[in-house]
Each structure stands twice: as structure tokens, then as C-alpha cells.
Amino acid sequence: MTMLDMITQIWSTMVATVTDVLPIAAILFGFQFAVIRKPLPNFAKVVAGFIWVLVGLSFFLIGLEWALFPLGKLMAQQLTDPVFISGASEAVSAAEAAADLHWQDYSWVYLFAFLIGLSTTIAEPSLIAVAIKANEVSGGSIGIWGLRISVALGVAVGISLGCYRIVVGDPIHWYIMVGYVVVVIQTMFAPKLIIPLAYDSGGVTTSTVTVPLVAALGLGLAETVPGRSPLIDGFGLIAFASLFPIMSVMAYAQLSEWRTNRSKKHST
């Protein structure tokens, strides 16, 4: 990669980001001036903020393209390669190696899925944004890191379980439906204040960083495990990554509430 390549890539990413943001900016400013018809307070500051967002997002995406995505995808391929998993040193074909593997043999894949789910969610910009807002609105009772780590744990568990499902080949809808039932039961018992935020956490996690890496992992598994189709089994990891954070955020709130109640009892 030469200097010139880098500059053209930076330029084209910037242009792409601007074209994504233009319709949004047009809607916002259009309504502001045509319908609300009041000058925006701190207009210059807001425009500057938009430029920061554009430049930041462009650099963020270029960095992901150069550093994290190629490595993450390569790793997903290497880890799901049957020859690596069976630890066969002699040259066996991938199909032969895959044929006598059991779900227990994929332990490295589950660990990788867990850790990559955890670490990409921690760095997800949308989640940082929601955590900042939730902290502000709750007057500090919801910690930024508390929320981010509980969402990240939910994604980690969801993706590991999703990988196990692909290896075993269970139908996806049973998992999703059981997940829905758990969410409904938790909704009855969780503190009322957390519920909307927990539901939002599911949509926030599947954003810029997580989707490409997780999709690569799912497709890699579905292609190498015999009898799986990338089309039916490769999809659906994203659905797991959206469902589990809802449970983990409610669980986090339930635990916090329980601890507070317990300490109250002790202090009286």
C-alpha cells in the first residue's frame, strides 16, 4: 500500500460518509428552518459538531478496514478450518477432518466468539452514545461502564451460543423463541426504569464494528461444518447478538436492585 493509495482511500471514504450523512442533515436543517422557524441555538457549534462526527466516522471506518476487519476475518477462517481444529499434523483433506469432529472440539471457536463479541461491543460507538445519554438521564444511577459491560457480556454469550448452534445444527427459531419467552418473564420482574433501555440495547449492538466480524465468523463456520448451508445457518448470529443484551441488561438492573435492597436490610 503506497502513500497515494492511502490518500485516495481516505478521500473516497470521506466522500461516502458525507453522502450517507447528507440526507440526514437535509432533513434536520430543513425541518429546523421551514417548520420550526427559529434560529438554532449555537448554530456554529452544531455544524462544527457535525464535521467532527463526519471526520471521526471516516477515520474510524478506514482504520477498521485496514487493521481489524482483515485480521478478524482471517482469524475466523483459520479457527473454523477443520484441519486446525482436529489438530491433524498429517495432510488430511478438510472434508475428512471435518467428518469426525464433535461439538466439543470447537472450544477455541466458542472462546474466540465470546471474546470478540465482548471486545467489539465495548468499542461500539452507538453503545457509547446511548450509555452517555442513559447516565445523564438517570442522574448517574446507571453507570456508563456498567451498562456497556453488561451489554458486551450479553453479546458475548449470544454469539458463543450462536456458534454452538451452527456447529450442532439446531433450528434457529427454537432458540429465538425461548429467548423471547425469557425476555417476557424478565420484563415482569425487572425494575420498570430499565425496561425501555434494555430493549434499546438489543438494537444498538449490531452496528459498525460487530456486524462484519460476526458475519465472517458465522459464514466461516457454516461453510466448513458439514451439512450446514451458509444461506440458512450463516445468518442469524446477528439475531443472537441483538437478543441476548436485552436479557443481560435486565439482569444487571435486577442484580443492582437486589444488592441495594440487601445493603439496606443490613444497615437497619
Partner: protein, 234 residues
């Protein structure tokens, strides 16, 4: 910047550990990697700064202005435009729609000519964009009325489960995933600021209970609309 380093350290550690300890391969193109990680750090720092300065304030101030203006029709039109406009140009959605058209053509649900595939893909994109517009309208309406979010979401789940039984198998994976691609990095902060701003400027609404939940609706409605699209297009 220090915060961004803390945000990114886990990913770097996970990748290094697996690459060097488990797979035992040297890292390819080390210089490009280092520059890339530096760019991600820089980008995340700028983005969070812009969020606090631009996206959050405009979302909140517009919500306050609409609440003072008191015109529900304009507010709902704005909600629809925001949902539709942020989704229709979403690159992740364009990719998923193209993929879905291929799947449909392979499954002989549509003719495998380029024209049929292109019209199927753009129909799917418009469907998803429309469903997100609908979701934000519904969510804003809920904030005005103060309905509890759980009935809407659980009702939506039940509908998804029922539709899954009847929808063509090929569309189900795509429908479930389309819920995840509609909430981009710019939409989430904006919509969150809008919801919280609205709930805090309407008397008797709690921003914690009524302000959140828009994103959840925007992730749910595409699943329902895409499955419906798959059933109708057969």
C-alpha cells in the same frame, strides 16, 4: 483519547492473543495495522466529541421546539422523515437487499434476470426504510400517549413468531438480520436524543421510561415488514 485507548485495548488484545498464541502466525503488514489502529483511535475520539457538540444538542433542541410548537402532525411527519431518510441510504441495508435478491433468484421465487433482481432489491430497501419511518412515528406517538413500551415490543415479538411459521424459509434469515442493519452509528444517537428530549419536555413523562425505546421499535418493525414483503412477493 485516553478513553478511546481504553475502549479499543480489548479488541487489540484478543486479536494479538489468538494470532500469536493459538494460531501461531506472525502478523501480516504490521505497519498498515499500526496506522489502522491509530486511525480507529483518532476517529472514535473525534466522533464522541462531535456527538456531544452536534448530534445530541440538535436532537434535543428540535424535540423541545416541536413540543413547544404543539403541532402533532408536523412532529409525526418529522419522525417519519427521520426514520425513512436515515435508512434508505444505509450501506449495510443496500448490501443485505442485494444479497436477498440473489437468494430469491436462486430459490426461483423471482426471475433471475438482472432487472427482476434489481426491482426486488429496491422494493426490499423501500420496505425496510418505510418500516423504520413507521417505527419512529409509532415510538413518538407512544411518548406522547405514555403507553408502556413492553406491550408494543412483546406484541411485536408474538407477531414475528406467528409470521415465522408462515413466511418462506429463505426470507426468514434476511428478515431477522434486517432488524440489525437499520440502526447505524449516526441514527442511534440522533433518535435517542430525540426521544429523551421529547419525554423531558412533555409534562408528566419520565425520560427514563418514555425517552428510550425508539431504537427497539426500529429494530423490530423491519422483521415484520420484510416477512410480509416475502409473503406478498411470491
Amino acid at each position: 483519547m485516553i478513553d478511546s485507548i481504553r475502549d479499543l485495548a480489548p479488541i487489540v488484545l484478543v486479536i494479538l492473543f489468538f494470532q500469536l498464541v493459538i494460531i501461531q502466525q506472525p502478523l501480516p503488514n504490521l505497519d498498515q495495522l499500526v496506522i489502522g489502529v491509530f486511525f480507529v483511535l483518532l476517529g472514535l475520539t473525534f466522533f464522541i466529541h462531535g456527538l456531544e457538540q452536534g448530534l445530541f444538542p440538535i436532537g434535543e433542541s428540535m424535540a423541545h421546539a416541536f413540543a413547544q410548537k404543539g403541532s402533532v402532525a408536523w412532529l409525526l411527519l418529522f419522525a417519519f422523515a427521520l426514520g425513512f431518510g436515515t435508512t434508505v441510504a444505509e450501506p449495510a441495508l443496500i448490501a443485505v437487499a442485494a444479497e436477498a435478491a440473489k437468494v430469491a433468484a436462486n430459490g426461483n421465487m423471482i426471475a433471475s434476470s438482472d432487472q427482476a433482481m434489481a426491482s426486488y432489491a429496491s422494493g426490499l430497501r423501500l420496505t425496510v426504510a418505510f418500516s423504520v419511518g413507521f417505527a419512529i412515528v409509532l415510538g413518538v406517538f407512544r411518548i406522547l400517549k405514555g403507553w408502556p413500551i413492553q406491550w408494543l415490543i412483546i406484541g411485536g415479538y408474538v407477531l414475528v413468531v406467528i409470521m415465522t411459521i408462515f413466511a418462506p424459509v429463505e426470507i426468514i434469515g434476511i428478515a431477522y438480520d434486517s432488524g440489525g442493519v437499520t440502526t447505524s452509528t449516526i441514527t442511534v444517537p440522533l433518535v435517542t436524543a430525540l426521544g429523551v428530549g421529547l419525554a423531558s419536555s412533555i409534562s408528566g413523562r419520565n425520560p427514563m421510561i418514555d425517552g428510550f425505546g425508539l431504537i427497539a421499535l426500529a429494530s423490530l418493525t423491519p422483521m415484520i415488514f420484510v416477512m410480509a414483503y416475502g409473503m406478498v412477493m411470491l
